[in-house]
Each structure stands twice: as structure tokens, then as C-alpha cells.
Symmetry: D2
Subunit: 392 residues, 4 copies
């Protein structure tokens, strides 16, 4: 983790408090039971997210740095650690949904306790190194806000009663403009984060040159209408469009449409945060895997942009409603080095067999994304608001 930017303590404190509050706001529509379940390994119980983001501040700031700090509960590190091997044992991931205790009320107590302890601590002098960790903690929580949202969608959207989340979370904004191709000329482009006044993760740092061949990239995300054409043209039945392992995935899981799509009496519906609704044809397609994005692009005689093509062109189009699958594998930038210790586990250890997604989504927290932000997921995952933009 190289150095970040300067920020006034007051701003930092209010950013911290805002973030803590926003997480809890996301949970407002939930019943207590919704906090507890883990229907698949990738989806964590909401109460786990609440505890885990809290544990991060306790483990990396309060415990090592605040004099006389008392742990809220000595077993919580065990329960709420996720994947940080440097910080002791952890509840293995698919066990999270088996834990009824600590209960939701206790987890909120834990949040309040840590928030207050940290707030107090922040008004004392803190080092710029600590400030950095705090900022990571805040952005870590922002990242979990998105997961919290998509995990809630999964929990409700896979319940046979299909309950709605609320009326205000709008996931299908319409792109009200015509599709056209943006032309990008061959040459050298600069890639990576470079604004010293803005937070970023270590995986974006090390601004460097890349050479791009000339290419075209669409100003518009692929819509549900276009994706429906692909389905109707037999896209899910033609192995020539798919990677070998994508085709295995289709066969093994009987995939024939994006996640949350339901065909009822010949009519397509989508589970949304407002419950089951007719497919909105003008909205951008969402909840597709990389395999599906790739196959769709093949079918269109196009391709997915690389993350460099995307970054070089992004000023020329609107983005932010879907995480856009790119063709790029998630790899370190030329000067990348893992930070030592647990913080170093944040990004580096995932840099194999995943794909980069660029942009942001309707579930991304306010101010959490930026043109250089590198999101990443395994190629088969669909529970995020993922979509695609074509290149050629």
C-alpha cells in the first residue's frame, strides 16, 4: 500500500460516520430472519456483513492502536474474520449461515460500541499511517455495502415467496440515447490511478503506459431487448459461441437465461428489488456471468473490451449502472507489490483466475467507484449487477 492523499480529520470523521450509517440504512427493510441465512457460499448473511465491517476497524485500528481498548467480545474475531489468514482462525465461509448467534441485536450493539470507540479515538491525533488504514476500512465497508445489497437481493429473490425489498431502490434505469460506436485510435495510453487527492486501492496504482491497437467501443450497454434476441436465436444452445468451460457451466447448471429471469407462460419476468416484474426491454441486461457476456459478444461478431480499452475510452460514454465484464484477467500492474501483513491480503492474493469488471453498478455505494477502479470476480458469478458493453 503506497501513500494516499491528505484529508482533514473532520472530513474523515464524517465520512466514517456517514458510511457506518449507510450500511445500517441498507438493512432497514429487513426482517430479523433475513439477516441470518446464507443460501449459497458466495452470499453472506447480512448480519455477518454488519459484524465483519465492524471487526475490521476493531482488529486493525482499535486493538493495536487505541490505548486500553477493551474488545467487545473475545470470540467475535473468530466469527467475523473473513479470509485474513494472518489474523487467526476464521469461520469457514459456508458456515456463516449456520450461526444464529450472535443475534442481530448483539451485532448492532457491537457496531455502536466500535463506532463510538473509534469516533472518540479519531478526535485525538492520529498518524497518517493510521489515517490510511482508516480510509481502507471505510472503503472496505463501502465495498461490503454493495455485497450486502446484492446478497439481500439473492436471499429475497430465491425465496419461494419472492418478497420485495423496498419501493425506492431502482435497478433498471433506461439509457435514453441511441447506440453508436466510439472510435479510438492506435497508440500509447496511460493507465492507472494518478489523482493524489482521491482515495484508491493499491491495485489501481502504478500509472503506466500501454499500447492499444485501434478499436471501437459502444457508447451503450447491451440491453435486455438485445439479450432476448440472443436467447431467442438459440444462444444458450450453440456451443460454438462459448468457451469450453463456459459450455460445461451452461450444461451442468442448466442455464438458459440471466439470473432472476423467470419465464411464466411464455412471458419473461425478472425478480427486482420491487418483486417480480415484466422484463424492461430498454434497461441494460444484468446478472450475467462472464461466460454469457463472452458468448453474447461472439454471437454479435464483436468482443468484450479489455480493461485498458475501457479506461482509455470511458470519458466518451456514461457508465455506473452495471459492472461491465472485460476481457482482461485480473493481474497486477507492472509495479504492484503486496503490502506486508494482513492489509496486503486485501487484493493481491486474488490475482489469478478472475476477470476485471469496470464501471460500477446501481448497488455501488456513493463515491465508491472511479474510472480506474478495478473490480474482479470469478467468471461464473452472476449475483452482482453485471452487464456488458461491446467492442470490436
Amino acid at each position: 500500500m503506497t501513500l494516499f492523499f491528505m484529508i482533514a480529520t473532520e472530513t474523515l470523521v464524517s465520512l466514517f460516520l456517514e458510511t457506518r450509517q449507510h450500511t445500517e440504512n441498507i438493512c432497514k427493510p429487513l426482517e430479523i430472519e433475513d439477516y441470518v441465512v446464507q443460501p449459497i457460499v458466495d452470499v453472506s448473511p447480512p448480519k455477518w456483513h454488519l459484524g465483519h465491517t465492524t471487526w475490521f476497524f476493531e482488529e486493525f485500528i482499535l486493538k493495536p492502536h487505541k490505548p486500553g481498548y477493551q474488545l467487545f467480545h473475545e470470540d467475535f474475531a473468530f466469527v467475523f474474520n473473513s479470509y485474513y489468514e494472518n489474523v487467526g482462525k476464521r469461520v469457514i465461509r459456508n458456515d456463516r449461515g449456520n450461526l444464529s448467534r450472535p443475534g442481530v441485536a448483539k451485532v448492532y450493539d457491537y457496531r455502536l460500541y466500535v463506532t463510538n470507540e473509534l469516533k472518540d479515538f479519531l478526535f485525538e491525533e492520529i498518524s497518517s499511517e493510521l489515517e490510511e488504514i482508516l480510509l481502507i476500512g471505510i472503503h472496505h465497508e463501502k465495498q461490503h455495502q454493495e455485497l450486502l445489497t446484492t446478497d439481500i437481493k439473492y436471499i429475497l429473490g430465491n425465496n419461494p415467496l419472492l418478497p420485495k425489498y423496498n419501493d425506492s431502490f431502482l435497478e433498471n434505469p433506461v439509457q435514453e440515447f441511441k447506440q453508436k460506436w466510439i472510435l479510438m485510435v492506435e497508440g500509447i495510453y496511460e493507465i492507472g490511478h494518478h489523482n493524489p487527492e482521491e482515495f484508491c486501492y493499491d491495485n489501481e496504482l502504478g500509472r503506466h503506459k500501454v499500447y492499444l491497437q485501434g478499436y471501437k467501443i459502444s457508447n451503450k450497454l447491451v440491453t435486455n431487448a438485445e439479450y432476448l434476441e440472443f436467447i431467442n436465436a438459440g444462444g444458450y444452445k450453440d456451443f460454438n459461441l462459448w468457451h469450453a468451460e463456459g459450455w460445461d457451466w451452461v450444461k451442468t447448471n442448466n442455464i438458459s437465461a440471466p439470473m432472476y429471469w423467470h419465464n411464466i407462460d411464455g412471458q419473461w419476468y425478472q425478480y427486482t428489488m420491487q418483486g417480480l416484474q415484466k422484463i424492461n426491454l430498454d434497461a441494460a441486461v444484468s446478472h450475467i456471468s462472464y461466460y454469457e457476456a463472452f458468448a453474447f459478444a461472439q454471437w454479435k461478431d464483436c468482443r468484450l473490451p479489455t480493461e485498458f480499452e475501457w479506461e482509455a475510452a470511458q470519458k466518451n460514454f456514461e457508465w455506473g449502472s452495471r459492472w461491465e465484464w472485460t476481457e482482461s484477467a485480473y493481474l497486477p500492474y507492472p509495479d504492484y507489490t503486496k503490502a506486508p501483513g494482513a492489509i496486503g491480503e486485501y487484493n493481491g492474493k486474488f490475482m489469478v483466475n478472475q476477470k476485471v469488471l469496470r464501471g460500477g453498478s446501481v448497488a455501488t455505494s456513493p463515491k465508491h467507484t472511479r474510472p480506474t477502479y478495478r473490480n474482479f470476480f470469478q467468471t461464473n458469478l452472476r449475483w452482482q449487477f453485471t452487464g456488458l458493453r461491446l467492442a470490436k
Copy 2:
């Protein structure tokens, strides 16, 4: 299902109401979160038990027989059916713990609604055939009361915080008498249920003769002290004591003690309904699989009794604190025939690759067991209060 015995309507109503109430009493110590989780496939979420026992009355009595009955919720049959293939789709078993909805409050509403509807219905005239189904429904709920108790123990006892259930559920009564061998002479014995004034399941019916060789059976359950000797003598490391598939089970699952036993700094503890406690050496061993019961008996140069030996001898010893593994496979009695339709699925379809357990346990509901009662489980299961009695 052959015919049962006569019972006054009033008695029946009060038995019904008592049973409904008792189920809810078992849940009193729970937090809402405890109602939701399913840590292993054999353990169901408590709210599922609450709903499923209710669904039984709705599905088999109210819906087909009460004129004008309105279903509480049309999707609940889907959610709360367990294994009755004759009654439509069901939530597959290891999905139960993924369902946050219907919530706990809604499930209690469902219970109240069905209890009241049924109570009203019972005060009208009901046929003796319906009375039989009602009795099965009541005893079905009593059976689930035991599962509810043991599932709660599993949920709490596998939580890293090891919370206690309550202070009053005593699972380790001491057998305050000396071990001795009861001698049973060779000859013909009568086996099976024969009291027309007492309820029983169809698998106990068809009283018939069996020929038993002379045998000895212990008056006392095997104690924790004896079982500890077996552990200390290397019982879990000597494959000669085990069935081949038992030995595979030991190796695959790294078994070295009964379920809920923890060795902390060389001292053995047991998770009980009151939390973690030192092993009570005088109590009967509990939470062991058939494989373990068999291996222990081999080590003692004894054997497990058959279910017939147990039934023939049971007047001569105390029983009821542990389900006692027998050597008998769970098979139909000579005249057994499956009842037609869904009720016929109750017992018959499980009569393969399971072992009979006799007796009852500290978790068995009041008046739910009897000398002819045939309980049955797969040979590897341990989450019930299972123990053993030796024969030779």
C-alpha cells in the same frame, strides 16, 4: 393403517391443544435467529418444525374435510411439506435453512390459525377415520417435538459461542443402581403392539411370535465412565472392532469421541443444554452412532440386543433416557402393509438400511414412547440422545 382405539372427543381435543402448546414451550428459550438456521441436512430450522407440524393438520384434515376451509397461505404447502411425494412439490431438504421467509411471527400466526380452525372443527362431529388421522397428526407433532429439541441442541452446540438452552432441561440423569445381567430363557415370545386402548404406529402392529435363543441383557445403560475406558484403550484406533463402513466413517470424519465431547487441556467436557460442562461419568453415554455402539460392544466381548430381545426383556429394566441402538435392521413385521396414499409414506418407505432403536430419551415427549415403539435412524447419525445397552 389398521384401526385404533376409542377416545372421547374431549380427551382428544385437550390432547391436541396440550401438544400444540408443548411445541411452543420448547421454543420459549430461543432467540428469533435460532429459528432460522440449518447447520446440517439432518437438522431442520425450528420454524420449519413449527410450520410443518401445522401443515400436517391443514393438509390432511382441514383442507380435505372442513367445509369452506380457507388455506392460510397457498404457498405454505410448498414450504412446509417434508417428504410426502404424494402431496406436490417440496422445498428440498437442505434448502430449508436458506429461507428467511415466512418469518417466525408469521409462522406463529399460521399455527394459531390452524389450531383454532381445527379446535372449532373438532367440536363438531368427526368420523372415527378422521379421529385416526388426527391422532396421527398429534403423534406426528410429538415426534417432531423430540427432533425440535435435538435440532436446537445441535444449532446451539455447534455455535462457537456455545450458548446454553435453559437451566431446567436435564439430559444426564444418573442410574443409581449396580449393573447386573438379566437372564432370558430360550423360547417363543410375542412381539408387537396389542393394547387396543393405546395409540401406536402401523410399524408396531401385527403382534406375532418370534423364537429367541437364551440370552443375557444388562439392566443398565453403558455409562460415560465405561465409554471413556473404551476411548482410552484405543477403541477408535483399532479397526478390528468396527464394521468396514464404520471404520471408513471414523477415518473420513476424524471421529474420536461422541458428539458434543470436547477435550480441553486433557479434560473431557460435554456440551449440554446448560452449556459446556465436565463429563458426568455416572450418566449414560449419549450421542453415539450405531457404529460406535457396535464397536464398544465388540470391545466388551458383548453385542447389542436385537429389538426382539429388548422388547421381551424390557419389563426387567428401566428405560427411557436414551434411544438404545439395537442390532436389528428396520424391517416390516410379518403382516405389515403400507396404508395407501400420503399417510402410507409415514413409515414404510424408510424400511431399508436403517437400524431400530428402542426405549425413548430425555427429549422424547411425554407419553410418546412405549415398549413396542420402533424408532429408526441411519447408522451414522448421532444428534439424537442415543446410547446403548449390552447383551450377550
Copy 3:
């Protein structure tokens, strides 16, 4: 292993040599490649059977008892031990088909070496205790002859080229008589082996009384014609006929006919030792699991006999072309005790979660079966020549 019967040394030697020869005769039609493969875990490569039956004589007779005996190869015990935990490490079962070495020629060398060494040894005086082990070794090899035959059928019958084995092995003799019911009266019957002049396994010993209710048993095995009616009546689609775990087995494995049946353009064929042939309607059905035998009997409003019913009645009908599934679980007889050491692993450790089959089959070695013989398999297995006889 209690004592057996007297036998002249000469008879014993010729029985031994005959048996060794017969095993090799079974392999005559094979190509070298056929000796090597293991398509499923239950099927062993023919060369493994050749080596394993040889190893038995080496391990239990020559090595401990013949003065100055030199092992043929010190690693062969590792390669050819099967499941005898008392005799060191073993190649785990589903690895047998991964071993190209020792090659077939070397395995035949091994056979010759051990056969000769043992023949020499037998002409010296041997103790009656050794005679017993020798007899077990001979019968062990006879048992493997049947497995060898059925494993060869599996290897050839699951090859896409469907090669035939030979022209002389006739697996579908016709029962040329009418079906009728044999009536057996209620009362006490004697069960178990009792002829001191005939070899038997320890699991048949301990002749004892059982009490049987009156019953009827068919004089005839169920035929392919009858089984086809069951298929055509939707037997594989009606869960009411099946055990719960049988139904899971049907669904998981897409079972819709006996093993080796192929439906080609609406016509049923069966792979036989002579290659693919039209179903012989008059032959006894073969290659069915216990689950299928049970479901068929349910559909006929009959049941399977217990092993005791079978043994008590067997003089009244022909048997020996199919192993007949019984309703009895494989359990020890009242006085059964496991022999100490490796020989004790022969039978006892399998006495859980298997079913007894009685009779014998077209693949059973000459003189290897008898009225008290207890064969046993898991309920899902079908690669033996298994069939059924109805009772009621």
C-alpha cells in the same frame, strides 16, 4: 471360524488345482487389455483377481507356514491385498484400474509360482488348522471366480463396441414350468448349516430355531416378461412403489430398466455374454438392484421372502440361476463370533446395511453354493446376476 469337516489330502490337492485352473479358464477369451481396466469402483480388473486370489494363499499359508518360503515379489502384498486391514497397506479400491504393472504375464508367473509352491507344500503333512485355511482360500478363489465373470461382463458390456465374451456361457436358461405358490405352514424351523461333511463359511454356522408365520412362496423366478409389464405399467415412475432411498437412486441415476437393457427403436435388447441380443421373455430377470426387486414385489401386491423363509422352503423349488434378493438384512446369526485376526475380516465386518441374497447364479462356481449359503450386497448393486422370487 469353528471347525470344518475331514477331507483327504489328495482330494484337497485336486480341489486346489482344479480351482486354480478354472480361474484361468474364465480368462481365456480375454485380450490383454481386458485384464487391466476398472470402469467402476465395484468392478476389479481381471488381473487383480488373478493376483489377489494368489496373494491369499501366499499371505495366509506359504509366508507364515512354509519353512524357507521366498516371496515372489515383496511389493505384491501391497498391490493385491484388498480390504484386509490387518495385513498392511493396500491399494485403495478405485486405484486398481490405474495400475498397468505388474503386467498380465507377470501375474500369471506369480500364479504359477504360488500354485507350485503350495502344491509341494501340501504333499507334506499339514495341520488340520492349515487345512481349514486352505479350504477357505479355495472357496475364496471360487467366490472371486464369480466376481471375475461378472466384472468381465461389465467391462465388455460397457464398452461402446459391445464385444462378446464367448459363445458357450449361457446366462438365460428358461424355467420350463408353470408358476404356482408353495404353501408353508406356521411354526418353528431350523436355520443354518449343519452338515459336518461339507464346507461352509462362518456366517452360516450356528444352526438355530426361528419361528415363521405361515406364508406362500413362488416356485418360479420372476421372468423378463413379467418385469417388462412392470416397466410398461410405469413402475419406474411411481414413487409409491419405492423406498425413499430407492426413489432417490432411480432419480439420481435415471434408472428405467435393468442393467444391460437397451431400448433400440422401441425394441428391448440385453447385452449378454454373446453380445447384444433381443430380450428373452421367458428367462428370469437379471441385473436388478434390491430397490427394483422390492418395487416390483410392491407392484404385484406381494413381497420378497426373508432369508429364513427361503431356506425353509428351498427344497420345494429349483434355484441357482439367479442370486435372489431377500427382505433380510445381512446380520450375524445368534451364536456368531468373528474369528480373530485377518481371517475374521472375511465376513463379520460387512454385517451392516447390506441385504442377503440366496441361491446362486449362472456365474457361481461349481459346487460353490448350497441351501444355507448367505451372499450379501449393497441394495443399489446390479452387476451380479441378481433376480427375485415372490412371496406373500
Copy 4:
């Protein structure tokens, strides 16, 4: 597949015949049994390689193009197709080792038949399009020669008898020079195949510019001596050195050394084509996964080169004894487009979740590799002669 280079018919014929012969030479040391087994899913039986490379010529040249061509056997396409979805059903990959038929002699007959038929056909005029397919077929067979070699090593090296292959295949040549760092300056480099007189695969085509930051790359492969230091320093026990999924792989598979290494009484041995031998400390490490290569580089505070860095620098060092893991994911070059039909399945459909390896190995066929050659494997595979070269 864009166009290739001109080649005289005679040269082509002799290249074809040479290649066919070389495949059979590789198999000379085998016993028939060695041709049959498939110990893991990635390893194919040698007879399958013999048949599959033959099938390629039959399927793509003789069958569609030679007038009046008679298939050798109509079921062989089913048996010997590998993954070409466009060409009908195929024997699923982990079933190959279950097929004893067609036998080895028959497969050699098949080879001879197709070789002769094709040789005859080649002396007639053939189109340049056919010439291209023929060249692909030849190089396809060369690729399988390497797999054949490494699969044979796996089959013999995982047999408990550890038989040797032959005396002449030397897998551990020593790099007799000192390690130094080659300095490469920042700037634009040209990547991809560009020699119109040399065969290449479609995945190398589309020569294009890339921008590289300045870097250093070692002139020498990492040796066994260096790798042993890593082991002794606890490299396999420090999760900080590993990717998260690499660490899971280490834990799940109990990895603690390269494949084929055995620690016997504290001394390290390696199974080689000449049997078990002491580790040659000066030889390049081999049979490691990408995960191990990455962890080793982390431990050295270095990294793996990208495939572009490797290609740009390769004139400055010796290569060809180990396939060298690079940091690059296997992705299409900018202008890559999949050829239509079955030939298009050759490369494109594998371009996800694999890593590029560069160089070649002791098992690579003569003239089969080149500076632009892009080999690719999943990150956990080790049965190839894989090694690594450091960069920084």
C-alpha cells in the same frame, strides 16, 4: 485460421511420415498394459493418443475429401474424438481409461490404414486449404507426442513398482553457466508470429505492438537447489506467499514438494524416466504448478515475467528444457478470430482461466516449438515438464 506458408509436397509427405513414426517410437518401451490406463482425468491412455491423432486425419481430411474413402471402423470417431463438440458425441474424458477395446493391435492397424490412405492421397494434387489442415494435423500429432510422453511418465511414475521408461530419455540437462540478470529497456516491442515460411497456430498470429516497462529477466531457469531452499525455508507453510486459491490447493492436496519428489529417510529423490534417482541439484526444477512458481517468485522478492517480456527477451537466453510459467493469462491477441467449425475449436475455446507457458521442454517434439509459441495450462497442473524463470 489465416493462411500459412508454402511447402513442397514431398517435404510435407516426409514430415507427415516422420511424425507418424515418431509417435510410435515413443511407445516402443511400453508393455501392452501401459497403453490402457488413465490414472487421472488429465492423463490419457497411450492407445487413446495413438487413435485420436489418427482420427484427426481421418475426420478432417480423408472422410470429407478423399473420394470413396471407407472409414476404418464406424464407431472409432465416437471413441477417439476428444473435445470437438462439432463432430458428434465423444467418450467423456474420464471414461477413456475404462475402455479395453479397441485393443492396442487394432489401434496400430487403424494407424497403418489411415497413414497409408493419406500417403496415397497426398501424392495426388491437394489444395492449399487441405495442405493447411494437414499441417495442423501434423502439428496436432506433435503436440500429442509431448502429452504422450508426460502421460507415460505419470502412468509409470505413479505405479507402486516405479518402473523405468528407458535409459535414453534425459530429462535433467544441466545449465552450465552462471545466473545473471538481462536488462530490457522500456519501450514498444513487437509480439506475435511473423515468419511466413514457418508454421504456427492461429493463437500466435496478428503481430502487434506492446508497451513494456523496463525489466530484468534471468538468463537461467530456477534450479532444484534453489527450490529446495524454498522448501526448507517453509515456503509451503507460509500462506503470505500464495494466492488464496493456491493456498487452498496446497491445503486440500497436502502439497509439500514438486510432483515426483519423494522424501525417503530425509533424502530427496525424484522419479525420472530412468526410475527413482537422487535429486539433481543443478538441474532446473520441473513438475511444478503455476501456484508454486508464483509462490517461489514471491519468496525471492521477484515475479514471473509476462509472456510479452519473455518473447521480447528470449534471444538473450537459452530455453527449451522446461515450459516456463508466465504471469500472463491465456487471452486472444488483438486481431484473433476463431476459425469457423471444428478447427476453430482448437485454441479459442480455451482462452479463459489458464496461464501461458513459453519455451518448450525436454518432451517437446523436434521443431515443434518456437519463440512465439503459446502453450497454456490450468494453474494447478504439474504433470508437464514445467519450470520457471524469474523477472523483476
